[in-house]
Structure formats: C-alpha cells, structure tokens
C-alpha cells in the first residue's frame, strides 16, 4: 500500500544522508498563543526606584547625622586627624613588610577573586537555577 507522497530514498549517494538533509527538517510550528503566554509570564517591569537602595542611603545618612550630633561639642582638630592617619598608614606598611602578613593579604585577595569567579560561573544561563 503506497500513498501519493511516497518518496523512495535516492540511491546515487548515501541515500539516508540525502533524505535526512532534504526531508528531515521539522515543520514550523504555529505560534498558537505561545508568545502571548510567555510575555504574560515574564517578571513585572523593574522600576528605577529601589527600596533596598533607599534603605541603604537612609541608613548611611542617619548614621552620619548621629555621629555628627554625638561629636558636635568637640572642636575639629586637623592635626590629630592627620597624626592618626599617619599612624594607621605606618602600621599598615610595617605589617606588609612582614612576609607572612604579605602572603596572608595576597591569599585573601586570591580567595576573594575565586569566590567572585564561582559566583559569576553559577550565574551562567546554561546552569540550573535553584
């Protein structure tokens, strides 16, 4: 029993290869509302306003105001600030002069870079999202 659209495999070259290349491609599927369903399921548009950012800025501002209020009775002393900064800098330089501290510091930077790289890799769209 043969139908009208019977198309025997051609025999001049690898017949299966020829048939697969010519006839196997799948037919285009009609959309049938698929695009509309996808668009309806997309996350809502992101607003430029962010509660997280507002909270962060507000916390920083309030903390600064609180410190300023607490320190209001003290006279600003640029000399003591500079001296404190010089002390911190000198201590840091002396610590980094020690090879063990230098290695620890370098190790911390490398570890932070590795953690960052792992996070970026996990964010790949080909990876499963949890």
């Amino acid at each position: 029993m043969e139908s009208a659209n019977l198309t025997p495999l051609p025999s001049d070259r690898d017949p299966l290869e020829a048939w697969l290349s010519a006839k196997a491609p799948v037919a285009s599927l009609p959309d049938e509302g698929f695009t509309a369903r996808v668009l309806a399921a997309l996350p809502p548009p992101q607003s430029s306003f962010s509660w997280h950012r507002l909270l962060l800025y507000a916390t920083g501002t309030l903390s600064g105001l609180a410190v300023a209020w607490w320190q209001r009775s003290r006279e600003p002393d640029p000399v003591s600030i500079a001296s404190w900064w010089n002390g911190v800098w000198a201590q840091t330089v002396s610590l980094l002069g020690d090879p063990w501290w230098s290695l620890t510091f370098a190790g911390a930077i490398v570890a932070a870079a590795v953690v960052f790289a792992i996070q970026v890799t996990q964010a790949s769209p080909f990876e499963e999202d949890s």
Partner: protein, 180 residues
C-alpha cells in the same frame, strides 16, 4: 525590514522592550518547541512548559548573552538544561527504567505508506541521545559543533551518537531502499 536578533536583544537589554522580546519569541518558538517535543518524546504539554521556562530564563539572562554562539543555539542550550533539571526531578518520583522502556517499546505500526511516518517511528527506536543528535543536526540543521554546544557534550560524543543513530535508521528504513 525585519530587525536582526542582535538589534532586538539590545533593545530588550537596554530598555526592557517587551515588544522586541515578543518578536524574538515568535521568531524562535518553533525551533525551541520542536526541540523540547523531541526531548520529551512528544509530550506536548511538558514540552511547551519547558519551552516557556526556556524563554523566561533567556529573558532574565539576556544581558549575559555574549554572542559566542547564535541566539537560537543559546536558546536550545537553555532548553536542554531545563529538560535535564526536569528529568532529574522526575527521576526522584518515577523509576527511569519504566520510563525508558515505555519509550523504546513504541511499536512500529503496520507497514506505513509514508516514509516520513516511518522515519518518525524509526526515530523513536533510537536511544534518547541518538534521537537528540539526529534531531539537532538534521531536523534543526545545526552543525556538529553547535549541537555539542547546545548539549554540553564533547564534539566526539555528538558524532558518535549521530553515527550510531544513522546506522540504526539505515537498518530500520532499509525497506525504502532495497539497494543498500
């Protein structure tokens, strides 16, 4: 003039242009849905759910699309990954052996008069990996290396599955070509 995929992608990433994303979905839904139907063994509902998840994942990840592969290849890679996750979850509830035996014992019906129909039946007799390789390389027209990217397989694995699949198809469809 129809804008290329790259232009639509830029519009989506830069200004969250949903009409542009809709155009991308319309353009590529057939390839993705055909692929997920192939992966799910013709389960249309599951396939369309997977295809929908694929596009939503693509929307969320579009800013990370670097153009290292074509956009459809990238989409098919996401679809394959979603399917692997779904299958992993399914395995926790349904024994895989039962699932696979159901798939491989799909009988070839009485002698069909249409080669395309016989081809569809023969395709179902291949292992899932062979089916996927044949689907991507012949039915979707991807190159071997593109298929390897989509499936996250080594190139040699794609070629091996393709060769095995074609050999089985050759035997299953021998009736159509008595000379071979």
């Amino acid at each position: 003039m129809t804008p290329p995929d790259s232009e639509l992608i830029v519009r989506v990433v830069d200004s969250d242009d949903r009409a542009a994303f809709g155009e991308l979905v319309t353009r590529h839904q057939s390839a993705v849905r055909n692929f997920t139907r192939n992966l799910t063994g013709g389960d249309v509902t599951l396939a369309d759910d997977l295809a929908q998840e694929t596009f939503i994942q693509a929307y969320r990840s579009l800013s990370r699309f670097r153009g290292e592969s074509t956009f459809p290849t990238w989409l098919l890679g996401i679809a394959h990954n979603r399917w692997r996750n779904a299958r992993r979850q399914q395995r926790e509830h349904v024994p895989l052996d039962a699932d696979e035996s159901a798939q491989t014992t799909v009988p070839s019906p009485a002698p069909a008069a249409d080669l395309r129909h016989d081809f569809a039946n023969a395709l179902r007799r291949l292992s899932p990996d062979e089916q996927t390789a044949v689907h991507l390389c012949y039915q979707q027209g991807l190159s071997h290396s593109e298929a390897a990217t989509v499936l996250d397989w080594p190139l040699g694995t794609v070629k091996t599955n393709l060769a095995r699949g074609k050999e089985k198809l050759r035997q299953l469809l021998a009736v159509w070509n008595p000379q071979t």
